[in-house]
C-alpha cells in the first residue's frame, strides 16, 4: 500500500509540475527565447552564449528596451541533441510566443527552417555558420551574425593568396556535417584565387592517429593547412606531430578553432597557429563595446571577469541584431515576421562598437573576418590582418 501510494504521489506531482502555470510571464513585452547547448559536447559555447544573450538584453532594457517595451528572455537547454533542441524550441514557443529565437546547432536549424518560414515566423539565428541560414530567398527569417563557413574559408584563402600567391593548400577536415560543409566551395575558391589545393585530409573529431595525413601533406609539400570542423583535437596533435615529421607548413583554422582554449593546449607552439575570426576578442578593450562588456561582466558576473569566449561574442552579436531588427520593425508599426525580415535586410553600416566592423547584412550573413595568430607568450590571439571583406 505504502509503495503504491508513493508511486501515485510521484506521478501526480510530476503531472502537476508539468502543467504549473508560469508566473514570471508578463504582458506587453517583446520576447526573445533561446535553446542553448548548456550541457553536452557543445556546452563550452552554450554556457557563455546563455549569459551573452541575457547580458545584451539587460543592457538594452537599461537603455529603454524596444522603443520603451521591455525585452523578456527565456531559454532552455537543448543538450546539443536535435530532438531535445526541437522539443525545447516548441515548448518555448508554446509558452512564450517569442518574436525571436536562437537555436543550438546546424542540425536544429535545418530541421526547423521550413516551419520557421511557414508557421512560426520568428527571426532566427543559431550557434552555426551554415549556408542554410544565409539564403534570404529561401529562408528570409534565418540569419547569421557573422560569415558563413564558406565565407570564412574565403577570408582565409584570400589572405593566403595575398601572402603567398600560388601556395599549396591542404584542407584538413572532420568527417561531420560541420567539417564537410565549406569544402566543395573551398575547392572553387582555390581555383579562382590561383591556389593549388594539393591535399584533402579527413580525420575524426578528437582523432589521435593522424600520422598518415601528416606524411601525405609532407609528400605534397603543403604550404598552408586549413582545419575545418574541429574545436580542439586533433589540431594540437597535428601541429605537434608535424614538427616531429619535419612538415614546415602553416596551420590555420576557422571560427570555432580560434578560441583561447586551443592556445592553452598548444602552449609554446601557440605561435604556429593562425585562424579567421569574426569578432573582436574580450581582451581587445580598445573597442567601446568590448569595454562595455568587460565592465558589465566585472560587475554582474565576476566569475568570468578574466575571459569571455568568442561564442559569447557570437551570441552577443546575434542578440544585438535581434534587438536592432525588433526596433526597426517596431518603428514601422508592427513586429511581424515580414517586418522583422525586412528590418534585418535593411541593416547597413550599423555601428556595433568595434565588436565587428560596421555591419551590413548581405544575404543574411556578414561576410567579413580577420586573420589572427596565436601568441605563445600571452596565449592570446593577436590580429595580423585588417578586417577582410568578401565581394
Amino acid at each position: 500500500m505504502r509503495k503504491i501510494s508513493i508511486y501515485l504521489i510521484i506521478f501526480s506531482l510530476s503531472i502537476a509540475l508539468f502543467y504549473m502555470p508560469n508566473t514570471a510571464k508578463a504582458e506587453e513585452a517583446v520576447t526573445i527565447c533561446a535553446v542553448h547547448p548548456f550541457t553536452g559536447r557543445f556546452a563550452f559555447a552554450g554556457i557563455h552564449g546563455a549569459d551573452a544573450m541575457e547580458d545584451a538584453i539587460n543592457m538594452a532594457n537599461e537603455e529603454g528596451g524596444i522603443n520603451g517595451k521591455k525585452i523578456q528572455y527565456y531559454w532552455a537547454d537543448g543538450e546539443y541533441k536535435n530532438d531535445v533542441g526541437i522539443a525545447a524550441f516548441k515548448r518555448l514557443y508554446a509558452q512564450y510566443k517569442p518574436q525571436c529565437m536562437w537555436g543550438q546547432s546546424t542540425g536544429m536549424t535545418k530541421a526547423l527552417a521550413p516551419e520557421i518560414k511557414d508557421r512560426y515566423k520568428v527571426l532566427y539565428s543559431a550557434y552555426t555558420f551554415a549556408e542554410i541560414a544565409a539564403n534570404p530567398e529561401e529562408n528570409p527569417l534565418l540569419f547569421l551574425p557573422g560569415p558563413t563557413y564558406v565565407e570564412q574559408f574565403g577570408v582565409v584563402l584570400k589572405y593566403i593568396a595575398k601572402e603567398k600567391p600560388g601556395a599549396n593548400i591542404a584542407f584538413f577536415y572532420s568527417d561531420t556535417e560541420f567539417g564537410r560543409e565549406p569544402i566543395p566551395a573551398g575547392r572553387e575558391i582555390c581555383k579562382k584565387l590561383g591556389l593549388n589545393l594539393v591535399a584533402e585530409e579527413i580525420s575524426k573529431v578528437g582523432g589521435v592517429d593522424i600520422s598518415t595525413q601528416i606524411l601525405d601533406m609532407k609528400r605534397k609539400k603543403v604550404d598552408y593547412c586549413i582545419f575545418q570542423g574541429f574545436v580542439t583535437a586533433p589540431i594540437q596533435t597535428v601541429i605537434k606531430q608535424a614538427k616531429d615529421y619535419g612538415l614546415t607548413c602553416k596551420f590555420m583554422g576557422t571560427f570555432w578553432s580560434t578560441e583561447k582554449h586551443l592556445l592553452d593546449q598548444l602552449g609554446p607552439m601557440a605561435g604556429e597557429y593562425m585562424g579567421v575570426t569574426a569578432y573582436s576578442y574580450y581582451y581587445q578593450d580598445e573597442f567601446p563595446m568590448i569595454k562595455k562588456i568587460r565592465e558589465w561582466t566585472k560587475k554582474n558576473r565576476p566569475k568570468y571577469a578574466d575571459y569571455r569566449s568568442q561564442a559569447y561574442m557570437q551570441v552577443f552579436m546575434g542578440t544585438t541584431l535581434f534587438i536592432e531588427s525588433l526596433r526597426r520593425a517596431d518603428n514601422t508599426g508592427s513586429i511581424t515576421g515580414d517586418s522583422m525580415a525586412k528590418a534585418l535586410a535593411s541593416i547597413k553600416d550599423f555601428d556595433v562598437g568595434g565588436l565587428m566592423p560596421p555591419v551590413t547584412m548581405k544575404n543574411n550573413s556578414i561576410p567579413v573576418g580577420r586573420i589572427v595568430r596565436g601568441n605563445a607568450k600571452t596565449l592570446k590571439f593577436d590580429p595580423i590582418s585588417d578586417w577582410i571583406y568578401l565581394d
Binding site: K3, I4, S14, A87, K90, R91, Y93, A94, E177, R180
Partner: protein, 347 residues
C-alpha cells in the same frame, strides 16, 4: 462488488482483455487519445508524436531482444534505413508517403535479415558486436553514399497528403502516428500469443532445447530480426516525415542504447513494458528540462549547477527504478493494477 476474476473456459483465458474493467478503462483511454489533439497545444502534441515513434521502435526491439533474446545494438541503424528508404522513395521516385512507408519497413526488414544472419552462429555479447558493426556500417553509408542519401546535407521530405488533406502540423500527424501505434502494438500483442511468438520465447529461454523440440532456429531468429527491423523502419519513416528532414545525425549509436534502455526500464519481454519504457525515456528528460527551467526562474545565476543536474537525476531515476523493480515499469504497473483490482476489499 467484484472480488475475483474467474475463467470458465479456455476461450476466456486466451482473451487479450480479460475483464469488463480492462475493456472499460481501455475504451476510456482510447476516447482520451481521440480527444487529446483537441485539448493539447502543439508542443504537447509534438511530444505525443515523439512518444508514438518511440513506442513503435521499442515494441520492435522488445520483440527481438525481450522476446527472442537476441541483443541488438544496431536498432538506430534500422530506424535510419527505414527513414532513408522512405525519404528516397518519396523524393526521388515520387511515391506517395502511404506507399513508401510500408516499403520503408520492408527495406529495413531486409537489412535486418542480412544483419541477423550472424545470430545463427553467435549469441550474447558476440551478437552484440555483430549488430554494433551494422550500426557503424549504415552510419557510414548514410554519410558517404551521397548520390543516394545526399550525404551530410540530408533530404527534405514533403508532408504526407491524403487527397486534399495535408498532414503537416503536429495535430494532423498525430492521427497517422496514433494509427500506426495502435496497429503496431495490436499486432505485436497478438504475435506473442501465436505459434511464432511462443517460438521466440522458446529460443530466448534455451535455443538448443527449442531446436530439439522442432523449432526452426534459422527461420524464427531471422523472422525476429525482420519483424523488429520492420517496426524500426516504420518508426524511422514516420519520425523523419514528421520532422520533414533526414540527415545522418538522426541515427547515432546512442539512439540504439536509448532504445535498449527503453525496453529494459519498461520491462523486457512485455509489450506494455515497451510502451512504458518509450513514454518514460521520452517524457522524463522533457519534464526534467521543464523543471530545470522553473528552477532557473527562481534561482537566477545558479544555472550552471541546476541545469546539468537533470542528467544526474535522470540517470538516478533509471538506476532507482531498476533497483526497486528489476522487471521494469510493466511490473510496477501490474502491482498497482493488482492492488486496485480488489480494492477496497482485498483479502
Amino acid at each position: 462488488m467484484r472480488c475475483g476474476d474467474f475463467k470458465e473456459n479456455y476461450k476466456k483465458d486466451e482473451e487479450i482483455f480479460q475483464s469488463y474493467f480492462v475493456k472499460f478503462w481501455l475504451a476510456l483511454f482510447f476516447i482520451f487519445l481521440l480527444i487529446f489533439p483537441f485539448i493539447a497545444d502543439h508542443y504537447v502534441l509534438y511530444m505525443a508524436n515523439m512518444v508514438g515513434f518511440a513506442v513503435i521502435g521499442a515494441v520492435g526491439l522488445n520483440l527481438l531482444t525481450g522476446f527472442t533474446g537476441q541483443i541488438s545494438l544496431g536498432h538506430a541503424a534500422f530506424i535510419g534505413v527505414g527513414a532513408y528508404a522512405s525519404a528516397i522513395l518519396t523524393t526521388r521516385f515520387g511515391l506517395s508517403f502511404w506507399l513508401s512507408l510500408p516499403l520503408a519497413g520492408v527495406v529495413s526488414a531486409f537489412a535486418g535479415v542480412i544483419i541477423g544472419i550472424p545470430s545463427l552462429r553467435v549469441k550474447g555479447l558476440y551478437l552484440c558486436i555483430a549488430t554494433l558493426a551494422a550500426q557503424f556500417i549504415f552510419e557510414f553509408i548514410f554519410v558517404h553514399w551521397e548520390s543516394l542519401t545526399n550525404g551530410i546535407t540530408g533530404i527534405h521530405i514533403p508532408s504526407p497528403r491524403l487527397g486534399r488533406i495535408e498532414f503537416s502540423t503536429e495535430k494532423e500527424f498525430y492521427w497517422i502516428t496514433l494509427f500506426f501505434v495502435v496497429v503496431g502494438v495490436g499486432y505485436a500483442r497478438n504475435l506473442v500469443r501465436s505459434k511464432m511468438g511462443r517460438a521466440f520465447v522458446a529460443i530466448r529461454d534455451r535455443d538448443l532445447a527449442a531446436q530439439i523440440i522442432g523449432i526452426n532456429l534459422f527461420r524464427y531468429k531471422l523472422s525476429a530480426f525482420a519483424i523488429s527491423s520492420f517496426y524500426a523502419g516504420i518508426a524511422g519513416a514516420l519520425w523523419v516525415t514528421f520532422l520533414k528532414v533526414v540527415t545522418p545525425d538522426h541515427f547515432p549509436f546512442i539512439l540504439s542504447i536509448q532504445y535498449l534502455a527503453m525496453i529494459i526500464v519498461g520491462g523486457l519481454g512485455s509489450i506494455l513494458g515497451s510502451i512504458f519504457g518509450a513514454v518514460f525515456m521520452t517524457l522524463i528528460p522533457e519534464i526534467l528540462n521543464y523543471l530545470s527551467e522553473i528552477v532557473k526562474l527562481y534561482a537566477p545565476g545558479k544555472e550552471e549547477i541546476f541545469v546539468p543536474m537533470k542528467e544526474v537525476i535522470f540517470g538516478l531515476l533509471i538506476v532507482l527504478f531498476l533497483i526497486f523493480e528489476p522487471l521494469g515499469l510493466a511490473e510496477i504497473w501490474n502491482r498497482v493494477k493488482n492492488f486496485f483490482k480488489l480494492w477496497p476489499f482485498s483479502y
